[in-house]
Symmetry: C2
DNA sequence: ATATTTTGAATGAATATTCAGCAAGTATGT
DNA sequence: ACATACTTGCTGAATATTCATTCAAAATAT
């Protein structure tokens, strides 16, 4: 750990280039103390994601989060009561962002199921969602989810509603095109593949977002040949 | 933690029904004290998997492992020098078992690519490999893998050789049947889907091994319709 | 002046690691 | 046979470390 950061005089410099949240936040924020509270929370959540990505769940400490945010040691317990609550808030924020993202992507896609499926897959590999940093944080939570009900509930990022949506799309395509699988089964294969690709991306290995997206497309082309081609929905 | 276990007189009873490794081991080994070094190591590795599955990576303590094995607190540092080394040995053991399993499944399948692919998929959902307990342990390691090179290297359970094998099978089927995707891309979709199904199985949600296997089959039927049907290779 | 936010040292709990000693077995000498 | 030293596996109390949490005091904003 960088002990220089414990010197308050050195922190100013760090704050300037701290994390992305702060930069975004300062655009919106005035000097109002109420706004400031929410801003700090976001800043700390971003620092938590950084730490999870850099050190993994087990090695993430409040000291590291505070240092990452360019703030002092006691800060987390002031804004979130406990480490546990910070982590839950972090997961919640990621889950909200994810759900929000696929939902709006779907709305933009229009009414045709093939277009919607295409958009849903594309959303998963969008720049904003699919960063190494966030994937690593997701994976850190997945690793702990089985033994923590709170995480498990939130960790269905691709949660019940997402799964229902995929099933509905598979069912719609089946009705249109006469494929002979059951919608639930194919939806499970499909969404599992997307999750698996995330996992692989996180692991590194020179796999890029573009290549992963391509693999996902190749698979849905195979699954729905009458509706989807490599270059888009038919 | 069960404090009763700290009483040595209570341990005998625990030892009798401790973990699977010991049971297997007693077939080969003598009794109690004479348990060989290798046997103890296996016993502790099994207890580690139990603890990972029950409490997750972050909450797994040496005390819990020792208790699970029905042995005393200092035992792990005696047989493996450190917690870290115990965990690496555990991951190594799981990786070896996994690699061994798919490799022999492939040998039994005979020379035809379609048969081999079918066998490879079946191997992933085999009773012996695909238990809640082991999946949970895998996932615990995945969560830490990004930040630990040692884990990362071993965590490719579906490692380089596995991936090469899947690519080779996709290429062989393509050559036989004239599908028009690239083998590497389809292999990536396929193996990611298998991993994703593991992840889902681990998360619970009432998904069974059989249902997951079914979903995998449905997908390879869609990918290789000329070679594979729901009830087996053509 | 008051309220809010932040700091950083102190505290205490959890837990990995160490190690001196015990016990069970094994080899050697008588 | 028996005694003696030696080896190996194991124990559990003591130690050291790491880290979340607390809080009195300082800084900052209203």
């Amino acid at each position: 750990m960088n002990e220089a950061l414990r010197n308050p005089k050195m922190r100013m410099a760090v704050k300037m280039r701290a994390n992305a949240a702060q930069k975004e936040a300062t655009d919106i924020e005035k000097k109002g103390r109420k706004a400031s509270k929410e801003t700090r929370r976001l800043q700390l959540i971003e620092a938590t994601i950084d730490s999870l990505a850099k050190r993994g769940y087990a090695e993430t400490t409040l000291a590291d989060v505070a240092d990452g945010a360019g703030l002092s040691r006691g800060i987390v317990n002031f804004h979130f009561e406990s480490k546990e609550k910070l982590l839950v808030a972090t997961l919640q924020a990621m889950a909200d962002e994810y759900a929000n993202h696929w939902y709006t992507a779907l709305e933009k896609a229009g009414p045709r199921p093939a277009d919607q499926l295409w958009a849903l897959v594309a959303a998963d590999f969008d720049r904003r969602i699919c960063t190494k940093r966030k994937l690593a944080a997701w994976c850190a939570f997945w690793g702990e989810a089985k033994s923590r009900p709170t995480y498990q509930a939130l960790c269905g990022a691709r949660d019940v509603k997402y799964q229902e949506m995929v099933i509905a799309l598979c069912a719609a395509l089946k009705a249109e095109g006469g494929y002979d699988y059951t919608a639930e089964t194919m939806a499970l294969s499909l969404s599992s593949m997307l999750e698996g690709l995330w996992l692989r991306l996180m692991m590194g290995d020179g796999l890029t977002r573009e290549k992963a997206h391509e693999a996902a497309i190749e698979a849905i082309v195979a699954m729905f040949p009458k509706h989807i081609a490599r270059n888009g929905p038919k």
